[in-house]
Symmetry: C2
Subunit: 365 residues, 2 copies
């Protein structure tokens, strides 16, 4: 089916709801993050945010050392598109998955997070069967209390266990400080982040003291990139959201460094009463786990989402809205919003200049 | 890319997270609803729930008179797949949309909801340009307070306005009682529903008293199918969720009539501490606007979702879970969960018996 998009069309002609990327702001965000990572710590951006090979290639061109993925199926897509230095920052487990990972490792420099001995056995067995070697990093719980080892002893035991496996290469550690990336007060965020960084770096040192080689010490999100990114002993940062700056991250960090580049363009489909307009973007185009998204229109507030409707309540200054009018909506959570769309409508000076496929959309397997 | 699915494989071999449809329960739900609609009121199921041409065809075979869609792009996909009697139960507005609808009306019997005079002008202009006639129903606000006319006078004015348009065919009314489909106490739900039905049917009668022909009077959701579905003057029902029965609707209606047929199969990827397991299904595979989904495992509760993780807290009876184990998750809201997936893994007796593409996934334009 056609997507009704033609390069050169005006923004007003793009069928809505549409995921619109402002290329100038996006490129500025890309450059600003690249400029930060000129020291010993490197950037390995998380592609879960954009799920788009074109954007991954632009990040690599801007100096990224590779990419971070959440899932095996994302890594498979990215490898097929020519991105071959990949950290899968989650555990890969389940029927057939170690085999797929081992097969991918024949063609890409792929590293995966582990925190479990049986999982390590499965990965090793698959790699030996496929004649590849899978890089592994141990996920360390640094306070996020999700996956990851719970003690230095456990980490050391797992590291020794990995080193003895012929199909695996022990690469180091990762620990995501997800519990503090959204802490609103910068001083508090920094204190929490440094505690998390310390756990990770101290663990790496302990492993080295035990004779292990620790090449990768991976941490960091967009909310902590300039904290973890200068912490001695951290080697690479997994930030992803910086390229788009959703409303949630902007609420935490402000818009001085990175600016909002991603919008969902919507159309008013009903103006049934004073002070009320309904737009054609609902929960199937916008997510709201980090609060309701924000319309880019003074005097308008998004007060609710149903599946295919957004409910805009309007002060008198915005009550001029009429059926057919466009309203740009600022996503509150870019990563999950992107996963609802098939492509970016890339816009410059109000013109469609490119269409980038979100090839990893739905790639959660 | 391959989807790693082979007909005949066991459920345990399906890559997770996977949207799994139990075909026996699904077919029982299909039959039960069809059995209800043997009287004067007909079923026009809403395909926003499943977004799948194969399921739409099965609903037609079971006696549905056509389908209801939320969006033009869903209708385009369904028409291309041979489903040609379509009600788009929302307003279609915005650049290029009336023209697409008019073009579709050349090949399909398409009806669309309206509540605005300028929108009616746009649809008429497009239909005249394309040499087609678009069926229109006026959306009446029956208490949902979303789109729709706010008074009988407004409805009458719009109906007369439509009748005078050469490119349009006035078909009747629709009014969705979305404000009460989830009312937990059946008696209260029924009272609210009958009030909504009365507004709609009284409005239809008023139009007839004014000499207008009202063929369609469309209402009803899964929570009210057996209330609106026997209300004299209602002609068709738009229920959709009955085929899957998500946890939200089951909480309202019980599981006596329709039973849960839809699951997200997940795998445990980490078991980092007693009482805690992480599964590979998060917000990119499951939605939670109607509450967190429920694991099909006694003693396990889903306590949180991040993008690609689900956090299962386990009582001692469920603490046997280990990395690699499968856990089926019952969606709380089927319609939005389906929109995150590309296909149904259709299962019978624990075997994959079919793979049905969700061709309308992401079709919100």
């Amino acid at each position: 089916m056609t997507n009704h998009l033609i390069i050169g069309m005006s923004k007003e002609q793009i069928p809505t709801p549409a995921l619109v990327l402002d290329i100038d702001i996006f490129e500025a965000n890309l450059s600003r993050m690249a400029d930060f990572f000129t020291g010993p710590v490197k950037l390995r951006p998380h592609i879960k945010t954009h799920k788009c090979p074109m954007i991954a290639h632009l990040q690599m061109r801007a100096g990224a050392i590779g990419i971070t993925c959440a899932k095996l199926s994302e890594a498979e897509v990215m490898a097929e598109q020519g991105i071959v230095d990949i950290l899968i920052a989650n555990q890969v487990a389940g029927y057939g998955k170690p085999e797929r990972l081992a097969a991918l490792a024949c063609r890409a420099d792929v590293k995966v997070a582990v925190d479990n001995q049986n999982n390590i056995d499965d990965l090793d067995r698959a790699a030996c069967a496929y004649g590849s070697r899978i890089g592994v990093v141990i996920e360390v719980n640094v306070g996020n209390d999700r996956c990851g080892t719970r003690s230095m002893e456990q980490t050391l035991d797992l590291a020794k266990y990995i080193v003895a496996k012929k199909g695996l290469i022990f690469k180091g550690l990762m620990g995501y400080e997800g519990h503090c990336v959204f802490t609103a007060v910068r001083g508090e965020r920094k204190a929490e982040c440094l505690s998390a960084n310390k756990i990770l770096v101290d663990t790496a040192q302990m492993l080295r003291d035990n004779g292990l080689i620790v090449e990768i010490v991976s941490a960091g999100g967009t909310g902590t990139f300039d904290m973890s990114g200068i912490y001695s002993g951290i080697t690479e940062i997994e930030a992803g959201s910086y390229i788009f700056m959703d409303a949630c991250y902007s609420g935490v960090m402000g818009n001085e460094v990175f600016r909002p580049a991603l919008w969902v363009l919507s159309t008013v489909i009903s103006k049934p009463a004073p002070g009320l307009a309904l737009i054609d973007a609902g929960m199937k185009s916008l997510t709201h786990e980090f609060g309701l998204p924000k319309p880019l229109l003074s005097g308008a507030e998004l007060k609710g989402l149903s599946e295919e409707h957004g409910r805009l309540e309007l002060l008198p200054e915005a009550d001029h809205l009429k059926v057919g009018d466009l309203v740009a909506i600022w996503p509150s959570h870019g990563c999950t919003t992107v996963n609802l769309h098939d492509r970016y409508c890339v816009v410059k000076d109000n013109r469609l200049v490119a269409v980038w496929e979100i090839a990893c959309r739905g790639k959660s397997q």
